[in-house]
Amino acid sequence: MNLNPFWSMSTNTSRKQRSDNEEQSGHGEQRASPARMPFGRKQLPPIPKNAAPITKPSPMGTPIQSANGTHASYGPFYLEYSLLAEFTLVIKQKLPGIYVQPSYKSALMWFGVIFIRHGLYQDGVFKFTVYIPDNYPDGECPKLVFDIPVFHPLVDPVSGELDVRRAFTKWRRNHNHIWQVLMYARTVFYKINTTEPLNPEAAVLYEKDVQLFKSKVVDSVKLCNSHLFDQPKIDDPYAISFSPWNPAVHEEAKERMFTYKRRPEDHHKASQASGLSWVKPGSTQPFSKEDNPPQS
């Protein structure tokens, strides 16, 4: 699960079909900073004032009660950083086949795509959007809406929303994280659950007529994939968009990804900074490494 160079590239240049079988490349090599961190892209407006204040309630639940305005005014920072922290966690989880990217316009909206690699939904590439409540993390669980309603018992056939709430009846800060939602979204395609379905038709078919269910799923997957190259539903610079393979554009990036993968150590070394250590691993003695020149 990562912010893949491809995505950021595709947002700026052209669109590309991301081949399903591409492995997750190591995270270290990818853009380490979350999407919203590139400072160059956003800039402080010259004189930021008079804008309509949309102060967040900032329900931070800190040990000390919010006695003054200071707290509220830092609310956006907390929210922003909470979400960035969530995003960081997502990156660390390395969820197979799932990619997300926060939108440009709001940290509360994340674009994502999920690649289903086997099972009934094999070859499915489903784009989705995660909506995070603005009183996060104290609100309800985030919503996950597929761009195209996938034929699935837990996916609303009209809105495309996945029934996330059944897995997170109560969203608990510190226990629940967005990566779990993403993980859940992946799981539903491998383990079909038909209780209390949002799409009763799918549920019934799955129970009664698996063959028909399967064929409907195949149709749904085809439908989704046929819309893969569509413009993103939401117009946002960071929205995930696909484009057909274009060697002129994509070959280089692909090359880079695979090079990283092959020689992670080299890359590692190259970027090392000035830190020093002569401590032997497992030791707590200074200068315990053996190649230490004797000093006396």
Partner: protein, 1110 residues
């Protein structure tokens, strides 16, 4: 002379030979040579060149003139010169033959031994400096311009080597011209050698022929190793070439390591150069704390010189063969660091020590080569001087008064900034690894991130409630944050404050975030090499600190205790009876375990602990408090105490001198000498203790009524031995005691000044101090701290509405803080003194009852009062300073004021930190956090004590060090500094808790002063604008050169392109009464520090473990 002609002539004819038939050249050459030979032979006794050469092997006698038959006529000499000039020219221009064969001229030169004969001819004509120059230049020219390799041919190489050898002897007595040419030639030779190492063989052989040093080239260069100027530079370059050659040519390496004095010369050269450094620098200003380039580049040429040599060592270490490297490092360690630098760090005067410390700091900053750095660091970390680790000495220095403390702090900043695991291990992590400051639960969550910025929120909630600086304008018009473009300062930034908005205050936090991000990612990347993650799991808990000699046992015990009672509280408040007696101490009653544990926990307090130990009536932790209380209480019985031990008297005398303003440096450090002396007598540890305790006992005699005195002494001594206290600790104790005694002494002195007639009272003071000296070791926080601050509390309460009184009383109050500041100016009435004493006593009386009830809980008042009292003192010290009194509005004074403000800011930072230091420090003592405490000692002590000592001088932003530490990614350290979780560690005083108490205190203070918020806001704006303005100017200046050179700019000048905002657009600095200034600015600083911490906490929460893409 020939050389000049040669050089000049060459230019004239450089192109004329092109296309000329080689045959012709050969003929011309031969003709010339024939002419030369004719003249040569006329003046030669025998034609045998080899005979003549044989004498050359002893080149010392070469110019003795034995061969001279008579003066050579000038016309003949110049004829030869002319011919030779042409011949050389022909030789240089000759192309190599086919397949690399010699050209005919070169072949002729080789066969005929032309060069050798020319060299002999030089000898013949009195081998003067001019002759040497001539020859040297001739070879220089040949080497640099010849089109075919010449050095491969012995007939060319051999006379060259002879020439070199002959120059070596004469080098010293000449005016340097020969040297310059010689070194230049050697440099050329080295270049040639590196380009074509096949010549190497010849170089070795040639010199072997002569039986002289094997590798003449190298040996000749060695004397110039430490030379300054161009010659030295060329020599060093040449040597480096050979060094790099040695890496690939084992033979060279072996020769250098085994047969030359290169490494010793280098190392001892460092020593020599170091000894010529000024022992005291003239660059001290009040805020001076480290050597900047500007400091030394102009004013201390010797330092420049030293640094060049150090650089050279660094470079050699980098490129040379490992055998040379390790030899060199060994010599540097054993030939420079240990015999020179270590004693220099222990010199007798503060100024000298300070200078040495600053040098060491500069050295560390200058060394880029890891191996050399490692040598220096292992010296600092592992070397013991008089049985004290250098590191410990340095840490203790932070506590020393005046600039030495700040300079030491600067050194620690450098050390921390190295991101060296070994340093951090010794300085910090070894105390954190046991995780004893954490509960189990916390330990489990150590690695967890603070996902919801709750730490940051907690920090920011501590902002003053009336704080006007809210972020709403800039942040809320979109639902997410707009990032400033890194640290770029756009013009709009500067426009912001011109318009008088609070823009800067808004931007401010973003800058903190950005800085934090940078710092954290740097730290992340730098620490990637580390061997362990220091996350509570790796390295495992049990393996720690076995390196400090003698600590093992203690650690074990400590560990056992930790195992037995994980609850810190239980230990302090209600120790399980007799269940805890893990210490094989001599104590056998049920209190033994408690007592001994407390002893271990507060090993610095050994001198205070003696009282309760045997009878163990009170919990020892409390007893510490009691001791100091008693010490203060004894103001009542004015019975003259017995004289304290000699060294204490000595210390007091010194302190007195300090106080009087006639600051006598020598005496200052005699204490150290004394201390070290004591320490050196490792065996006599018990004796020392006895001695100290004798003093203790004596001074406390009136209270403790002599009971259990001797028993105490012996018991303690035994205990000390059994618990394996190290000399190191003793040193710490003594040092600290000394420090405190200085404070006390000053105070005492002041008091005696004031109450000269009240001798009895003074003696009380003495007695009190003496006790405090022994009573307050190390757990300053718990005791001295408590006392002082509570006292201050009272005082402040009392005098709240009379500012002047505050100052006076605060001054009197014995916060160990900036006494010496006041000393200069204070005039103080005896009555105040009385007030103080009364207060003190009264307070302690109550305190001693309070504490048993809730002993383990950190006393917020304590800290608060500390803060305020320090404020008072600082304000006093600054406000009273006449310099700052009459500030007018012209620029100069304005600047001065700015400076003053800055100073105050920094002081206040110190206060903050002191507070931090104190509390996090003192309260730990109650727990089983021995390591913890020690760690904090290192970190906090340096901060704390700094604060205490020389307020104004301490210009290092201490918050900077804290922030620096807080940006380290290791969970142990991160959580220690940034965690705001207060649940499970009632006895561990975190930074956050300190800030909480500060907050309460500020709130309370400001509440009583309705004008403060406005005042602070105004000053805040001013400071931010000032800061921004400074950055902006800096930014412009750094770009200045480029911009000015850019012709495309309309007016070709930065100033026209981007006019600097004039000072007038800065918000006015509010007129704050001098008394209030430090308070106001401390509040601002406090708030800014909160922001910085919050930013660090937030950035930590989103930091990826890997920053490889950045």
């Amino acid at each position: 002379m020939m050389a000049s002609v040669v050089i000049g002539g060459h230019r004239k004819k450089s192109l004329t030979l092109r296309g000329v038939d080689p045959e012709t050249c050969m003929i011309v050459f031969k003709n010339h040579w024939a002419q030369v030979v004719k003249i040569l032979e006329k003046h030669e006794p025998s034609r045998s060149g080899t005979n003549a050469l044989s004498f050359l092997t002893g080149h010392g006698s070469s110019s003795s003139g034995a061969l001279r038959l008579g003066p050579i006529p000038a016309d003949e000499a110049s004829a030869v010169q002319n011919y030779v000039e042409h011949m050389l020219f022909l030789l240089m221009e000759e192309e190599a033959g086919q397949g690399g064969a010699m050209g005919p001229i070169l072949e002729f030169v080789v066969l005929e031994g032309v060069m050798e004969r020319l060299f002999l001819w030089s000898l013949r004509r009195q081998f003067t400096e001019d002759m040497k120059l001539e020859q040297l230049r001739m070879y220089q020219m040949l080497l640099s311009q010849a089109k075919q390799p010449l050095l491969h041919h012995k007939p060319v190489l051999r006379p060259l080597m002879m020439l070199l050898a002959s120059c070596a002897g004469a080098a010293s007595d000449t005016g340097g011209v020969v040297e310059a040419e010689l070194v230049l030639l050697l440099n050329q030779l080295c270049v040639a050698l590196v380009k074509d190492p096949s010549v190497l063989e010849l170089f070795f052989h040639t010199s072997e022929d002569q039986g002289a040093a094997n590798f003449l080239l190298f040996s000749l260069l060695i004397p110039y190793t430490h030379r300054q100027g161009l010659v030295g530079q060329q020599a060093r370059d040449a040597l480096l070439l050979i060094m790099s050659l040695s890496a690939s040519e084992p033979r060279v390496a072996q020769h250098i390591a085994e047969n030359t004095y290169f490494c010793p010369v280098l190392a001892t050269g460092l020593s020599g150069l170091y000894s010529s450094l000024p022992a005291r620098l003239q660059v001290y200003s009040e805020d001076w704390h480290s050597l900047d380039q500007a400091d030394w580049q102009q004013q201390v040429p010797a330092l420049v010189h030293f640094l060049h040599s150090l650089d050279f060592c660094s470079a050699v270490t980098k490129v040379a063969h490992p055998s040379i490297r390790s030899q060199l490092l060994g010599y540097i360690y054993n030939g420079f660091l240990v015999p020179v630098l270590a004693p220099a760090l222990h010199k007798l005067t503060v100024e000298e020590v300070m200078t040495t410390t600053a040098y060491l700091d500069l050295f560390l900053r200058s060394i880029s080569e890891p191996a050399l750095l490692q040598t220096f660091l292992s010296f600092i970390l592992l070397h013991t001087h008089d049985n004290v680790h250098i590191l410990d000495t340095l840490v203790s220095r932070v506590n020393t008064p005046f600039q030495l403390g700040t300079v030491s702090l600067a050194l620690f900043r450098t050390l921390i900034g190295l991101f060296c695991e070994d340093v951090m291990l010794q300085l910090v992590f070894r105390y954190l690894i046991p995780c004893s400051h954490l509960s189990r639960k916390q330990r489990c969550f150590l690695k967890q991130r603070d996902c919801y910025s709750s730490s940051a929120a907690s920090f920011l909630l501590l902002m003053p409630s009336w704080c006007p600086l809210q972020l709403q304008n800039s942040l809320t018009h979109s639902e997410h944050i707009h990032w400033p473009k890194g640290t770029d300062l756009s013009v709009s930034d500067s426009v912001g404050y011109c318009r008088g908005s609070d823009f800067l205050m808004d931007v401010n936090y973003l800058h903190y975030l950005w800085d934090a991000r940078q710092a954290i990612s740097t730290a992340h990347r730098s620490c990637r090499l580390w061997s362990a993650s220091y996350d509570g799991i790796n390295p495992p808990l049990q393996e720690y600190r076995s390196d400090t000699p003698g600590n093992n046992m203690e650690d074990e015990e400590e560990f056992m205790q930790r195992v037995k009672s994980d609850s810190i509280c239980s230990l302090v408040i209600s120790p399980p009876p007799s269940a805890l007696s893990p210490t094989p101490s001599s104590l056998d009653n049920s209190q033994a375990g408690r007592a001994s544990s407390a002893l271990e926990l507060e090993w610095d307090d050994i001198f205070a602990d003696d009282n309760p130990l045997p009878s163990a009536v009170v919990n020892v932790v409390l007893a510490n408090g009691d001791v100091s209380l008693e010490a203060d209480t004894c103001t009542f019985p004015p019975a003259p105490p017995p004289l304290p031990p000699r060294h204490i008297q000595e210390m007091r005398r010194n302190a007195t001198k300090l106080v009087r303003g006639s600051y006598v440096e020598e005496s200052e450090f005699q204490d150290d000498v004394l201390v070290y002396d004591l320490i050196a007598k490792k065996d006599a540890k018990a004796a020392i203790l006895d001695r100290i305790m004798l003093a203790n006992r004596q001074s406390r005699g009136s209270i403790s009524k002599g009971q259990r005195v001797s028993a105490t002494a012996t018991t303690l001594t035994t205990m000390l031995t059994t618990t394996g206290r190290t000399v190191l600790e003793t040193v710490n104790s003594i040092m600290s005691a000394r420090r405190r005694s200085e404070d006390a002494g000053k105070e005492e002195r002041r008091r005696s000044e004031d109450c000269e007639k009240e001798i009895g009272r003074t003696k009380e003071g003495e007695e009190e101090e003496t006790k405090r000296i022994f009573g307050h070791r190390r757990s300053l926080g718990d005791q001295l701290f408590t006392n002082g601050f509570n006292v201050n509390n009272d005082i402040i309460d009392e005098c709240d509405d009379a500012d002047d009184d505050i100052y006076i009383t605060a001054r009197v109050s014995h916060t160990p803080g900036a006494h010496q500041q006041h000393v200069h100016e204070s005039i103080q009435s005896p009555s105040t003194c009385l007030v103080r004493n009364t207060l003190t006593n009264g307070h302690h009386g109550s305190e001693s009852f309070d504490r048993p009830i809730s002993p383990s809980l950190p006393d917020d008042n304590t800290n608060n009062n500390d803060f305020l009292s320090q404020y008072c003192e600082l304000m006093l010290s600054l406000g009273v300073e006449p310099d700052y009194e009459d500030i007018t509005e012209d620029i100069d004074t304005f600047r001065k004021r700015v400076q003053v403000l800055r100073q105050r800011l920094e002081e206040d930072e110190e206060e903050l930190c002191t507070d931090f230091g104190f509390s996090s420090f003192g309260d730990d003592v109650g727990a089983e956090e021995e390591e913890e405490v020690m760690r904090e000692e290192e970190e906090a002590e340096k901060i704390r004590s700094d604060t205490k000592k020389g307020g104004r001088r301490h210009q290092i932003p201490f918050t900077g060090i804290l922030a620096q530490l807080a940006s380290y990614p290791q969970p142990l350290l991160r959580s220690f500094l940034l965690s705001t979780d207060t649940q499970n560690q009632p006895n561990v005083r975190t930074l956050y808790q300190v800030l909480v108490s500060l907050h309460a205190q500020i709130e309370r203070y400001v509440m009583a002063r309705p004008d403060y918020p406005a005042l602070v806001t105004q000053a805040w704006r001013f400071l931010l604008a000032k800061d921004q303005d400074g950055k902006f100017r800096e930014c412009l200046q750094s770009q200045g050169g480029d911009i000015i050179l850019d012709p495309s700019l309309p007016n070709g000048s930065v100033k026209n392109a981007l006019p600097l905002p004039p000072f007038s657009v800065l918000p006015p600095c509010p007129t704050i009464s001098p008394q209030a200034k430090s308070r106001v600015f401390a509040i601002i600083l406090y708030a800014e520090f909160l922001k910085e911490l919050a930013a660090l906490a937030q950035e930590h929460s989103i930091a990826l473990d890997c920053y490889s893409e950045e």
